[in-house]
Symmetry: C2
Subunit: 200 residues, 2 copies
């Protein structure tokens, strides 16, 4: 009987099309960031690149800033689930390795371009910072604080400052020598710089 059929497939179908379109838009944003940078990126350019209309973009995002933040959040796996190996060295290594890998990816390169142009659009960088970078920094700090609770590090260690070192050095390596970031560099940052500052 018709009544027992599952509800009309229209909704799931539209929803799926919506997701596919959204992914195409996000891909277009990252392409445009790499090619023309944040300054050169326009809603028109993204729409053309994703083979859709400007209206499809404005239905979802009010501005190019919102759209770019959404695309970055979608593309960069979050650290919602920080590693917990029971050893601060292993946790830090896992997180910094993930950062190094992400940074060497096309998405990471696009994000660095956005941040590099940031001094021309401070408000936007603040948003990227708060929504994309801050969560990562909080996770690094959390990993170090968990180690402090286990008594694995010396109580007077400057944890907030130490949490900044790894990301800072990986980003600098990216900007000066360029990707990919070798694993032995990441290991060296952890073992020769960060750990000596934390150990009791």
């Amino acid at each position: 009987m018709a009544v027992s059929q599952p509800a009309a497939p229209v909704t799931p179908c539209i929803r799926r099309r919506g997701e596919v379109l959204e992914r195409a838009i996000y891909d277009a944003v990252l392409d445009q960031l790499r090619e023309v940078g944040f300054g050169g990126l326009t809603m028109e350019g993204v729409a053309a690149c994703a083979r859709t209309g400007k209206a499809a973009l404005y239905r979802r995002w009010d501005s190019k800033e919102e759209l770019v933040v959404a695309a970055l959040q979608h593309a960069l796996p979050s650290f919602d689930d920080p590693p917990d190996h029971g050893s601060v060295r292993d946790d830090l290594l896992a997180m910094l390795r993930m950062m190094a890998t992400q940074m060497s990816s096309p998405t990471g390169c696009a994000m660095q371009a956005v941040l590099g142009e940031g001094n021309r659009d401070r408000a936007f960088v603040d948003v990227v910072h708060k929504q994309v970078l801050e969560p990562r920094k909080r996770m690094l700090t959390a990993v170090i604080e968990r180690a402090a609770e286990r008594g694995e590090i010396r109580p007077a260690a400057p944890t907030v400052l130490v949490a900044e070192i790894g990301p800072a050095m990986i980003v600098q390596r990216f900007h000066t020598i360029g990707p990919p970031i070798p694993d032995d560099y990441v290991v060296s940052v952890v073992d020769d710089v960060v750990m000596p500052l934390l150990r009791p």
Copy 2:
């Protein structure tokens, strides 16, 4: 008598005009970098901004890459004369303070914009790196090595890596929280991070 007059003032006058023009061109380059970034900067745009013709630019520099490097070198005081206070802490503090000040200046902001866009023009960043950043890194390493010779630091300290920490953290601070970089942040990087890694 006319013969005893100093040689025609034509040459010095032209030379001075040349220097004044050159300075105007360099200022225009920095303005353009801040406004449209390295990607948006053109020889035409710089010429218009400096109220001169494109020919005046091409007589001096073959490409916009050469022009931008020249403008950055002109604007950023070099570290040809590294500080020598007889204490590695004081030397490092002096150099990192100078970096923090330079980075917060309009020129520093322009240079960061260039580097941030770098993943779109790797060859150019390599030139900026070699001609602008490398000399600074060499000076920091030299200051640390001089301290090693004085027996002021432990022999096994990872000097090359340690020389990277200060610049990396100052640049990251610039990109995340933005200029100006507070002096107590610079002091904290030296006293809580760099010095503990160097001390015997």
